[in-house]
């Protein structure tokens, strides 16, 4: 397995892999996003309690899940970068961070727009909301730490260490609705029990989760390609590639 994996530590191979993977993610994103939004907005039945306001769930839950999923992937890349000193992994950390930050911002904004009609407040300093806000700051911290150093080697290391340390926030977000008294409702989709949601709403929700995951994939790949090019801009392979107009 390692023999197969090793060539991807080389920038050029990683760049090519990005190109190969991108169309698949793009197709999943476009198809699922269109189907998921139309289904969620127009075809899913209204909730018996929250009426049509619950439709925000179709973007709130996917973005919240992906905000944590993106952070996990970023942290895994950071561990690889720190332990095996693979620079592509470092670049992946920097490529994922803005995407994760966007997901977190969407989760917070849609949460506020849902909280206002349901709880009567845009924002409350509740465990779930506060820990999600901290997640946004972690993403922004990783990015600004990376861009604060002139020397990209120490910049990468500092950003990776912060990304790894920040993992402690993930279980806090996940269990915050169980550990503390909170306004936020409990989990909608659970792996082990039957879901607390009817299948007429569950399907569009799952499709939207796939759409957001695809989006995170596509944009991360675009950004990773940019980071690799930036890093290797003086290498012949980049010049050949750019010269060809790619």
């Amino acid at each position: 397995m390692w023999k197969w994996l090793h060539p991807y530590a080389k920038a050029e191979r990683a760049y090519q892999l990005c190109n190969t993977l991108m169309p698949y993610f793009a197709v999943v994103t476009v198809v699922c996003l269109v189907v998921g939004w139309v289904w969620g907005l127009a075809y899913a039945p209204a909730d018996y309690q929250q009426k049509d306001s619950y439709r925000i769930i179709f973007i709130h839950v996917p973005s919240a899940i992906l905000s944590m999923g993106a952070y996990s992937s970023m942290a895994i890349a950071a561990v690889i970068a720190l332990v095996w000193q693979i620079r592509n992994a470092e670049l992946a950390v920097i490529a994922i961070a803005p995407v994760g930050a966007a997901m977190t911002a969407i989760a917070l904004i849609t949460g506020a727009a849902w909280g206002k009609p349901m709880w009567g407040a845009w924002w409350v300093w509740d465990a779930r909301l506060t820990s999600e806000l901290i997640l946004l700051f972690l993403y922004l911290g990783v990015l600004s730490l990376y861009h604060a150093f002139e020397d990209k080697k120490s910049a990468g290391r500092a950003a990776c260490i912060l990304a790894v340390v920040g993992v402690i926030n993930l279980p806090i977000i996940h269990f915050s609705v169980e550990w503390w008294n909170t306004l936020h409702q409990g989990a909608t989709i659970t792996k082990f029990d039957t879901s607390a949601i009817d299948s007429s709403m569950l399907w569009p929700l799952l499709i939207n989760i796939a759409a957001f995951a695809g989006f995170v994939g596509v944009v991360t790949l675009i950004r990773l390609k940019n980071e690799i090019l930036q890093c290797e801009r003086h290498r012949p392979w980049v010049r050949e590639l750019v010269g060809r107009g790619e």
Partner: protein
């Protein structure tokens, strides 16, 4: 279809403002991130191309000096 007319669809049972605020800001953030990522890439390629042309010019100028 859950809604009878377009107006009903836009009203979202009285929650239209909140629903469309969520979906609107979500779409705006997704599109902004996507296009700014693409733009970064083309800007970078443009810079590399400009650098290559510059080096070419310097090389030519040096050759002419020698002649």
């Amino acid at each position: 279809m859950q809604f009878e007319s377009l107006n009903e669809f836009l009203a979202m049972g009285g929650y239209g403002f909140y629903v469309w605020l969520s979906f609107g800001s979500c779409a705006a953030i997704l599109l902004a991130l996507f296009f700014s990522s693409l733009r970064d890439g083309s800007k970078l390629r443009h810079e590399v191309r400009a650098q290559m042309k510059r080096e070419e010019r310097i090389k030519k100028a040096k050759q002419q000096e020698q002649v």
